[in-house]
């Protein structure tokens, strides 16, 4: 396989990682909450998207929108009822809550749908190959790369240029000061959490082709999402983007050339990186 195809394949996977993980990075940076259930929201979204296409015949884009709204709504309920009471609690309590949520969501999906892997039927305009001139490549992967980059730019602009983005950034950097300047931090949390979870849902749907979709999804990919977030830096959109691409490409490359040692390399790399820079590649140094 030549270099470009491998790179493109890795980037496509990286894009999926990005779409799922960006929400986690922002909410963890904003709320300081260890949310291990983020992958489960992605799974939930994936199922919502795939099933709405299968049973209601929704076209792909509409299904994505549906997944976003559905999971965002679920996450708002979860945030108000379950997460909010633990914002000041210890890390351990947060870990427990979110692991519990993962179990609940996996069980719910297994009971409601079944343990089989879900397959996505892609619309015609996304299937097949596209001719890039020097290379023929999977249309879907190219679309993912384009969409992911567009999303990154949109989010980045949103954060840097809008008032609400400024508020979020301020609250990430210094919550107390933002609060004393009149920012309604509680509502900001809910909004950001909903946005992040909704994006995760889209990521789950988009990634069904590449990462697969079954009830074990959260546990299988939890480490990847956490690594992307930790390496990219909390609350750093560009950081998560590059970290996701890095991990995606690395993983893809290693799976081809070193199928046995690949994952080990990624964990070792993360270990070394976090030791050298605990705040991630792009994160802010904590006090």
């Amino acid at each position: 396989m030549d270099v470009i195809s491998v790179l493109l394949g890795g980037m496509a996977a990286g894009m999926v990682l990005f779409v799922v993980s960006v929400g986690l990075s922002v909410t963890m940076g904003l709320m300081g909450f260890v949310n291990l259930a983020h992958g489960a929201f992605a799974m939930l979204g994936g199922y919502a998207i795939v099933l709405s296409m299968k049973h209601w015949g929704l076209p792909f884009p509409a299904a994505l929108a549906f997944g976003f709204v559905f999971v965002a709504a679920v996450s708002v309920v979860a945030e108000r009822l379950l997460y909010a009471p633990l914002y000041r609690a210890s890390e351990l309590d947060q870990v427990l809550l979110t692991i519990g949520l993962v179990f609940v969501m996996i069980a719910a999906v297994t009971l409601g749908v079944g343990p089989e892997t879900q397959t996505v039927v892609l619309p015609a305009w996304l299937s097949g190959q596209t001719d890039l001139g020097f290379l023929q490549y999977r249309t879907y992967s190219l679309a993912l790369i384009a969409a992911g980059t567009a999303l990154m730019l949109a989010l980045w602009l949103g954060f840097e240029r809008t008032r609400i983005g400024a508020r979020i950034r301020a609250a990430v950097d210094n919550r107390r000061m933002a609060q004393s300047m009149g920012v309604d931090v509680g509502r900001l949390f809910t909004l950001t959490f909903a946005l992040g979870s909704g994006l995760a849902a889209i990521g789950g749907g988009l990634g069904a082709e590449i990462l697969g979709l079954d009830p074990q999804y959260p546990f299988r990919y939890l480490a990847y999402f956490l690594i992307v977030v930790a390496v990219g830096g909390l609350g750093r959109i560009a950081g998560v983007f590059f970290a996701a691409i890095l991990i995606g490409v690395l993983d893809f490359v290693l799976k081809i050339y070193f199928p046995k040692g690949g994952t080990l390399f990624i964990y070792a790399l993360t270990l070394i990186l976090l030791l050298a820079r605990p705040q991630g590649l792009f994160g802010k140094r904590v006090g």
Partner: protein
């Protein structure tokens, strides 16, 4: 001085502290067909006890404690398979040494961080070991592990009973007892008190001149060694070892056990392991998905309302009763 004398007496054995051991021995005679299950429970208690030292007392949140369990398990397995060294007691010692050394090395490096970075690093360390075990098939048997291991007689007299786990049960019980004595001593010592201080108020511990990181690393290393003993017992008692001794599921499992029982309380490990494994044995086999759902709901409820576990709820109840009795 009332408070001082109370503190001076705290480490003394109370009568109910004999209960776990009496009950365990009674089970040996009362349930001869369930000793295999009982042995797994004892091993889990030891594993959870080791986690309690690092999590419940030193306050270090780790998702990678299975790394040390696995290190001990594989040490004993590899010694038996590749060097024919299957003497059980020295195997336990070797496992403790290997796991403890890994704990010391990783603790020195990892405990420079905190929060998310530390959590991730504990995960990564364990995942690294898991991948290494997967890859080093020549040594570890890779994905399939090492089945069919046999071990020598304990103290040269008691052979391992593959069918009924009779000697395994008592062997595990004895090992658990010895390790428990160690943990109990540590917890009541000045060292243990300083660990509690670190957990309760890190800033204050620095401000009284305590060498905080050194204490944490020491607790981490001792805890790792104990987890290694638990892992070694697993391999010896069951006669096999595979990748399941490492990995997120085992780490999360022991964490759940400890939280359910109540962390930071020495006996939480006992209560949690018994409660969890009994429930799991009964429910998980019959209704696996419902079990997962129930477990998840329980964890959510515990995180929100009962973070001190069963023993914690018992404590709160006891205190409420006392307040009602006294005017």
């Amino acid at each position: 001085m009332n408070a001082a004398t109370e503190l001076a007496r705290r480490h003394r054995w109370r009568w109910w502290e004999a209960l776990p051991w009496v009950v365990s021995l009674a089970c040996y005679f009362a349930f001869p067909n369930y000793l295999a299950f009982g042995t797994q429970v004892l091993i889990t208690i030891l594993f959870a006890l080791s986690l309690d030292l690092v999590l419940g007392y030193a306050g270090i949140v780790t998702l990678g404690h299975a790394a040390f369990f696995g290190a001990g398990a594989y040490t004993v397995g590899m010694l038996a398979m590749h060097w024919g060294w299957n003497e059980p007691l020295s195997g336990l010692l070797a496992a403790a040494l290997v796991a403890g050394t890994i704990g010391l090395a990783s603790g020195l490096v990892l405990l420079r961080t905190q929060g998310l970075a530390l959590l991730m690093l504990t995960l990564c360390t364990m995942a690294l070991l898991e991948q290494a075990a997967n890859m080093g098939a020549a040594w570890t048997g890779g994905f399939d592990g090492m089945p069919g291991l046999s071990f020598g007689k304990i103290l040269g007299v008691f052979g391992f009973d593959v069918l009924y786990y009779r000697s395994q049960y008592l062997y595990a019980l004895a090992a658990l007892f010895a390790c428990f004595l160690l943990v109990r001593m540590l917890v009541y010592s000045s060292f243990g008190q300083s660990l509690t201080g670190i957990r309760e108020n890190l800033l204050r511990m620095h401000a009284v001149g305590a060498p905080v990181r050194g204490r944490q690393v020491l607790a981490y290393a001792v805890s790792a060694a104990l987890a290694g003993v638990a892992g070694a017992l697993f391999t010896q008692a069951n006669g096999y070892v595979n990748l399941a001794v490492l990995g997120l599921e085992r780490s999360a499992g022991v964490l759940i056990v400890l939280i359910l029982g109540g962390y930071g309380r020495l006996y939480g490990a006992f209560v949690g392991a018994v409660a969890y494994m009994l429930l799991e044995d009964v429910l998980a086999k019959a209704y696996p998905t419902a079990w997962q759902l129930g477990l998840g709901v329980t964890l959510v409820v515990v995180a929100l309302y009962a973070r001190n576990g069963i023993l914690g709820m018992g404590d709160a109840l006891w205190r409420r009763l006392q307040n009602r009795a006294a005017p």
